[in-house]
Symmetry: C2
Protein backbone atom coordinates (compact mmCIF):
# COMPACT_ATOMS: atom_id res chain seq x y z
CA UNK A 1 0.00 0.00 0.00
CA UNK A 2 1.28 3.47 -0.86
CA UNK A 3 0.49 6.79 0.86
CA UNK A 4 -1.93 7.48 -2.01
CA UNK A 5 -3.81 4.21 -1.33
CA UNK A 6 -4.17 5.05 2.34
CA UNK A 7 -5.33 8.55 1.47
CA UNK A 8 -8.01 7.05 -0.80
CA UNK A 9 -9.14 4.93 2.18
CA UNK A 10 -9.19 8.03 4.40
CA UNK A 11 -11.30 9.84 1.76
CA UNK A 12 -13.78 6.92 1.78
CA UNK A 13 -13.98 7.10 5.60
CA UNK A 14 -14.49 10.87 5.40
CA UNK A 15 -17.44 10.40 3.02
CA UNK A 16 -19.00 8.01 5.51
CA UNK A 17 -18.23 10.34 8.45
CA UNK A 18 -19.88 13.21 6.56
CA UNK A 19 -22.98 11.11 5.89
CA UNK A 20 -23.26 10.07 9.56
CA UNK A 21 -22.60 13.58 10.89
CA UNK A 22 -25.45 14.91 8.74
CA UNK A 23 -27.73 12.00 9.76
CA UNK A 24 -26.93 12.80 13.41
CA UNK A 25 -27.74 16.49 12.91
CA UNK A 26 -31.03 15.55 11.20
CA UNK A 27 -31.98 13.39 14.21
CA UNK A 28 -30.95 16.18 16.61
CA UNK A 29 -33.28 18.52 14.71
CA UNK A 30 -36.15 16.06 15.23
CA UNK A 31 -35.34 15.74 18.92
CA UNK A 32 -35.29 19.55 19.12
CA UNK A 33 -38.70 19.77 17.48
CA UNK A 34 -40.11 17.19 19.88
CA UNK A 35 -38.63 18.97 22.88
CA UNK A 36 -39.99 22.28 21.69
CA UNK A 37 -43.46 20.76 21.34
CA UNK A 38 -43.40 19.81 25.03
CA UNK A 39 -41.72 23.06 26.13
CA UNK A 40 -38.24 21.70 26.94
CA UNK A 41 -34.92 23.53 26.37
CA UNK A 42 -32.81 22.48 23.34
CA UNK A 43 -29.73 22.18 25.53
CA UNK A 44 -29.51 19.24 27.90
CA UNK A 45 -26.20 19.11 29.78
CA UNK A 46 -27.04 15.77 31.41
CA UNK A 47 -27.64 14.09 28.04
CA UNK A 48 -24.40 15.58 26.68
CA UNK A 49 -22.37 14.17 29.56
CA UNK A 50 -24.03 10.79 29.01
CA UNK A 51 -23.18 10.79 25.30
CA UNK A 52 -19.51 11.59 25.94
CA UNK A 53 -19.23 9.10 28.81
CA UNK A 54 -20.77 6.39 26.61
CA UNK A 55 -18.30 6.86 23.73
CA UNK A 56 -15.32 7.15 26.09
CA UNK A 57 -16.27 3.80 27.61
CA UNK A 58 -16.69 2.22 24.16
CA UNK A 59 -13.37 3.60 22.88
CA UNK A 60 -10.72 1.06 21.87
CA UNK A 61 -8.18 3.50 20.33
CA UNK A 62 -5.86 4.42 18.75
CA UNK A 63 -7.53 7.74 19.62
CA UNK A 64 -7.18 8.28 23.37
CA UNK A 65 -10.20 9.01 25.57
CA UNK A 66 -9.50 12.73 25.76
CA UNK A 67 -9.34 12.95 21.96
CA UNK A 68 -12.68 11.10 21.74
CA UNK A 69 -14.23 13.50 24.28
CA UNK A 70 -12.97 16.54 22.31
CA UNK A 71 -14.30 15.11 19.04
CA UNK A 72 -17.73 14.33 20.46
CA UNK A 73 -18.01 17.71 22.20
CA UNK A 74 -17.52 19.27 18.75
CA UNK A 75 -20.01 16.84 17.17
CA UNK A 76 -22.63 17.59 19.85
CA UNK A 77 -22.03 21.34 19.50
CA UNK A 78 -22.55 21.26 15.73
CA UNK A 79 -25.63 19.04 16.04
CA UNK A 80 -27.07 21.52 18.53
CA UNK A 81 -26.25 24.46 16.25
CA UNK A 82 -28.09 22.75 13.38
CA UNK A 83 -31.00 22.12 15.76
CA UNK A 84 -31.10 25.79 16.83
CA UNK A 85 -30.90 27.04 13.22
CA UNK A 86 -33.72 24.69 12.17
CA UNK A 87 -35.94 25.85 15.04
CA UNK A 88 -35.23 29.51 14.22
CA UNK A 89 -36.16 28.86 10.60
CA UNK A 90 -39.55 27.51 11.62
CA UNK A 91 -39.99 30.79 13.52
CA UNK A 92 -41.07 29.02 16.66
CA UNK A 93 -37.97 29.04 18.82
CA UNK A 94 -39.14 28.59 22.40
CA UNK A 95 -37.93 31.16 24.87
CA UNK A 96 -34.86 29.97 26.76
CA UNK A 97 -34.06 27.31 24.18
CA UNK A 98 -30.77 29.01 23.31
CA UNK A 99 -29.48 28.84 26.88
CA UNK B 1 -41.10 7.86 17.38
CA UNK B 2 -40.35 9.29 20.80
CA UNK B 3 -37.34 11.35 21.92
CA UNK B 4 -35.94 8.16 23.46
CA UNK B 5 -36.19 6.31 20.12
CA UNK B 6 -34.31 9.10 18.35
CA UNK B 7 -31.68 9.13 21.06
CA UNK B 8 -31.18 5.40 20.58
CA UNK B 9 -30.64 6.10 16.87
CA UNK B 10 -28.16 8.86 17.73
CA UNK B 11 -26.31 6.42 20.04
CA UNK B 12 -26.06 3.90 17.18
CA UNK B 13 -24.68 6.64 14.88
CA UNK B 14 -22.18 7.65 17.60
CA UNK B 15 -20.91 4.04 17.83
CA UNK B 16 -20.34 4.06 14.10
CA UNK B 17 -18.70 7.51 14.20
CA UNK B 18 -16.37 6.30 16.96
CA UNK B 19 -15.41 3.23 14.92
CA UNK B 20 -14.69 5.33 11.81
CA UNK B 21 -12.78 8.03 13.73
CA UNK B 22 -10.49 5.35 15.17
CA UNK B 23 -10.12 3.68 11.76
CA UNK B 24 -9.18 7.08 10.31
CA UNK B 25 -6.60 7.67 13.05
CA UNK B 26 -5.12 4.19 12.43
CA UNK B 27 -4.73 5.01 8.71
CA UNK B 28 -3.21 8.41 9.55
CA UNK B 29 -0.65 6.60 11.74
CA UNK B 30 0.29 4.39 8.77
CA UNK B 31 0.58 7.41 6.49
CA UNK B 32 2.80 9.05 9.16
CA UNK B 33 5.05 5.99 9.29
CA UNK B 34 5.36 5.94 5.51
CA UNK B 35 6.14 9.65 5.39
CA UNK B 36 8.73 9.26 8.13
CA UNK B 37 10.39 6.45 6.20
CA UNK B 38 10.91 8.79 3.24
CA UNK B 39 11.82 11.80 5.43
CA UNK B 40 8.62 13.85 4.98
CA UNK B 41 6.98 16.02 7.69
CA UNK B 42 3.84 14.64 9.40
CA UNK B 43 1.99 17.88 8.78
CA UNK B 44 0.84 18.60 5.24
CA UNK B 45 -1.20 21.81 4.97
CA UNK B 46 -1.99 21.23 1.30
CA UNK B 47 -3.49 17.79 1.98
CA UNK B 48 -5.53 19.22 4.89
CA UNK B 49 -7.02 21.94 2.69
CA UNK B 50 -7.86 19.31 0.06
CA UNK B 51 -9.62 17.09 2.62
CA UNK B 52 -11.77 19.98 3.90
CA UNK B 53 -12.55 21.26 0.41
CA UNK B 54 -13.59 17.75 -0.66
CA UNK B 55 -16.08 17.25 2.20
CA UNK B 56 -17.47 20.78 1.83
CA UNK B 57 -18.19 20.05 -1.83
CA UNK B 58 -19.81 16.71 -0.95
CA UNK B 59 -21.94 18.18 1.84
CA UNK B 60 -25.72 18.01 1.39
CA UNK B 61 -26.72 19.27 4.89
CA UNK B 62 -28.46 19.80 7.26
CA UNK B 63 -25.00 20.76 8.61
CA UNK B 64 -23.86 23.89 6.79
CA UNK B 65 -20.48 24.02 5.04
CA UNK B 66 -18.83 25.99 7.84
CA UNK B 67 -19.95 23.41 10.41
CA UNK B 68 -18.53 20.64 8.19
CA UNK B 69 -15.22 22.52 7.90
CA UNK B 70 -15.04 22.97 11.70
CA UNK B 71 -15.81 19.29 12.30
CA UNK B 72 -13.20 18.05 9.83
CA UNK B 73 -10.55 20.46 11.11
CA UNK B 74 -11.06 18.82 14.53
CA UNK B 75 -11.04 15.31 12.99
CA UNK B 76 -7.79 16.05 11.09
CA UNK B 77 -6.21 17.58 14.21
CA UNK B 78 -6.99 14.51 16.34
CA UNK B 79 -5.81 12.12 13.59
CA UNK B 80 -2.55 14.07 13.41
CA UNK B 81 -2.17 14.01 17.21
CA UNK B 82 -2.60 10.21 17.20
CA UNK B 83 -0.02 10.05 14.38
CA UNK B 84 2.47 12.16 16.33
CA UNK B 85 1.97 10.14 19.55
CA UNK B 86 2.46 6.87 17.63
CA UNK B 87 5.68 8.14 16.03
CA UNK B 88 6.96 9.36 19.39
CA UNK B 89 6.24 5.95 20.89
CA UNK B 90 8.36 4.25 18.25
CA UNK B 91 11.13 6.62 19.37
CA UNK B 92 11.93 7.61 15.83
CA UNK B 93 10.17 10.91 15.42
CA UNK B 94 11.85 12.66 12.52
CA UNK B 95 13.11 16.12 13.22
CA UNK B 96 10.65 18.79 12.12
CA UNK B 97 7.75 16.36 12.06
CA UNK B 98 5.99 18.26 14.87
CA UNK B 99 5.94 21.57 12.99
Amino acid sequence: MTIEDWRAEIDAIDDELLRLLNARAALAIRVGESKRSVGLSVRDGEREREVIERVRRANTGPLDDRAVARLFRRIILESRRAETVALEETGTLAEGALR
